[in-house]
Amino acid sequence: MTRSQVQGPAIHVQGLTKNFKDLEVLRGVDFDVARGSIFALLGSNGAGKTTVVKILSTLLNGDAGTVTVNGIDVAAKPGKVRESFSLTGQFAAVDEILTGRENLVLVARLRHLDNPAAIADDLLDRFSLTDAGGRKVATYSGGMRRRLDIAMSLIGNPPIIFLDEPTTGLDPRARIDVWEAVKELSAAGTTVLLTTQYLEEAEHLADRIAILHEGRIIVNGTLAELKQLLPPAKVEYVEKQPSLEDVFLALVGDDDANINADATGKE
């Protein structure tokens, strides 16, 4: 669980292919993710983003190519690799029948950590779920589930986190909460690989962005590098109307008090 001193990229993918029967989902994917960075894998639905994440997280085997996570080959030592990362899948993978606190304790015990109860309480606090911690997850809102889901992924401080479409289906308020959590993680030195179909999300969060299209990475670079691919911007004067998101956030409020109200109140 300790942050490894291994040199080289946190994630290294080279020549990765995967077919499902006749369907070529990945046709030779190459990318590296630097330690401590946020890397966004951008693509439309069905581009193969989830397949890449599943192979990285040892839930699927690739057909060909090399994949290492934290310097360890996923095909050769899947058990060892699982100590280096944490997966937050496309849908909040939480146990609805247990309480939020019990979900956290469960993962802490499965990771064989000391004092699971203290770990759970600390994470409930960090994710503004303390008051909801004793309730069954079935009563949580979508945003609360996602926060719990991410909290479960942080247990044991894995050096690498995979987030598969972490904000799909969330309302704007909950989406911003997730973004804040991702930024905090990155600030603490965790490597984050996230997939998204929202361009804005990649633009907002990622140090590097790769676009996965028809089973290949067609571009990979920083936001500035990607912008240079198009002709230079021309200057236009446009009256700035507030977007609906600005209006929504202005009306419902945008401060921390509201996060707590969301966690404790409305359900």
């Binding site: 997280s57 699927l60 849908f91 609805e96 469960l106």
Partner: protein, 253 residues
Amino acid sequence: MTAYFLEDTAVLTGRSLRHITRSLDTIITTAITPIAIMLLFVYVFGGAIDTGSASYVNYLLPGILLITIASGVSYTAYRLFMDMKSGIFERFQSLPIARSGVLWAHVLTSVMSSMISVAIVVGVALLMGFRSGAGVLAWLAVAGILVLFTLALTWLAVIPGLTAKSVDGASAFAYPLIFLPFISSSFVPTDSMPGPVRWFAENQPVTAIVNTIRDLFAGQPVGTDIWIALAWCVGILIVGYVFAMITYRRKIA
């Protein structure tokens, strides 16, 4: 990794047992259909059925217990299906744990919940006049056969649990299993059945298991039926386990 097999399996079993204690309806619905069948047969049809034994409830109970187990394991398929659907199965598989513990936890939970349902049904049978002259060893033998039968059906239940596309699909596999005791010696002696039906009834697993349990309850010597019963249970267990493992490996590779 396997060093943690017992610990991980215990933690995960504790989790699925919590599912059961928080939705007691699954245990009650598991027990209620067999109890209804038992009431119907003992108090409505039973008077017209000549089994050659003094008490029809004594005759009937072994088959009712098998029906209880068959309907109980359909909830195992259901719980596994819900874990697959919610993504928590993948979360567990991506953790540094003994991965097969996830399946074993469901299997152990299935055995425990089935035995609770069986105990409830036996309790109702006692109220209805079921009596047994069986000694401790015979009761242990009955319990052993029922646990083995539950394990065998549970590993079969793992297959639809892992592969089903819908909740109904996950639990539908149990219907034929629940129906099988009706074409056996569970309700009536096989002598009265026409040729091909009788042949089927006498050569299918339920009859051997039912006859063995009935003899054990009655304090009679069990004869060769017990070996046939054990062979069926172990056979189904091995086939179920092998196919469940093949299905599981396909799912995670």
